[in-house]
Amino acid sequence: MKVQAKNISLCYNTCPVLDQVDFEIAEGELVGLIGPNGAGKTSLLKILAGIQQPDNGELLIDGARLDEINRKALAKKMAYLEQGAPAYWPLTVQRVIELGRMPHQNPWQALTDEDHDIIEKAMVTADVHLLRNRTVTTLSGGERLRVMLARIFATQPNVILADEPIAALDPYHQLQTMELLKQHCKQGGSCIVVLHDLNMAARFCDRLALLNLGELVQDSHPEALLNSNNIEKVYGIRAECIRNDNGLWIIPKERTHWDEKT
């Protein structure tokens, strides 16, 4: 599935959040959205997910405008992981993951055997099958993220949009999550992730889109984008970029924009 955002602009009241951003993703791509806090990453992701309406510009999914597409049909193909993975009632983990089948169910229909198989698989894939009887509100932030990831796999979408999916995870599960998303893309799906970990972004993403103050600074291969120049300009830090056989490593050293950032 191909997702294209053309000339997207968004304002909250009079404060511009996104300014004429063009972005697209093709099948098989794992694209990272990076940038400092408030750069517009989450807003762009929500617009790409069809959750938020942009003030200007349009979203095309396989060439069709969003308002021409049935919301339920879209939900089968596109899944969204909200930042922080909120849960408001103490549902069981298994029930939360079952909700991932909702776009495939008819209103009064119960889960079929096939649905249950898919749910079991999703739980094992995201490594949450041991948590299945826990209530989701008693889990840690990282555990909850993995439960929501399992919920997304239960939907069996084509495009996964994930807002900071590894922010609260331990190193083991950070790697596991990125590997799962990579594998999803190798199987013909695609994935857009908001990331703060530049090393993970360099290592797993096929392409990076660097946002700053609502503008798309650069959209290219990680090797071409992640250099000390860009990092200093956008993040206001001096970072060491080491290239070796294992890839590209970024080590933040010190802040440079003292006055502007504090």
Binding site: K46, A49, G50, I51, R71, K72, L74, A75, K76, M78, A79, Y80, E82, P86, A87, Y88, W89, P90, L91, T92, Q94, R95, V96, L99, G100, M102, P103, P107, A110, L111, H116, E120, V124, D127, H129, L130, R132, N133, T135, M148, R151, L161
Partner: protein
Amino acid sequence: MSTDHFPIAPPLVNRQLPLLLLLGIIMAMCFVFALQMGTANISILSAISDVINHRESLDALILVEIRLPRSLLAITVGATLGMSGAALQGLLRNPLAGPGLIGVSNCAALGAVISLYFGLSSLFWFALPLAGMAGAALSVILIFALAGKSISATTLILAGIAVNALASSLTSLALNFAPNPYAMSEMVYWLLGSLTNRSLNDFLLAFPFMLLGWGFILASGRFLTALSLGEDTAKSLGFSVSRQRILLVIGIALSVGAAVSVSGNIGFVGLLVPHLLRPLTGYEPGKLLAASGLGGAILVLLADICVQWISPDQELKLGVVTALVGGPFFLYLIIRTRSTMP
């Protein structure tokens, strides 16, 4: 990772049906018991056979004209309050919400008070329920005018507070300028909430609106369950959040407006019942709706039985009893959720 060491649990048994059956049986028992309650000592069985065989007897008259409407109203009003409480708590993701919150109850009460003030109900018998429903409809229009079309949960609550304040001040105004002491006591008694002296016609007028409202609310079950994961996630699961929210508020207004217009204000049922039943439905907002409907029916039937049992001369009002029980429970609820609420 292999699953060999962890036996795959059988799919969770759908525990909803047994719960609904149990609540249904309890409700039926309360209903039968409520039909026995009353100052006159009649035989229900002979009254029923009289009704079936079209024999005109005093027993049949008391059953059909007095006890049946009262019990049917207890069931439908209770079901409305329970179900709409569960729906609002799910919509606002807050266990402290209730049908009184968005101002529907108070506006319906205002409509009814206005019709009592002008003595409209002496002109035609359905003036009171009609004015109540008009008040409820007005509250919804006001809420949408205040909060706009794509309302957030917070704006909905704020709009509800504004509408509530307006409705209760106008109600006070009507009481203030009551044309005579009789009209005043009529309005006050009506506001206290009661099911005494309601006719089968009152029930038949309000019932279709309640039924329609229930339809809207029950159809939102899946949406409310998806909303447990937040509005954005619910949208990504294929729900049009703003449209569903509007349908739900319309459903609540229809059913609560109709209920309040025949019974007056019966508080705390919509708050209490969903809270008591939530653990039994796995904390799932969608499954809570039907269960809370039955639970509300049981609670109001029981409260009405209590009222008739404590004071057969019918001085004690139903709304007073539910508020006396509900008030302390509400305080307890706030104290208990204080630590967990953001």
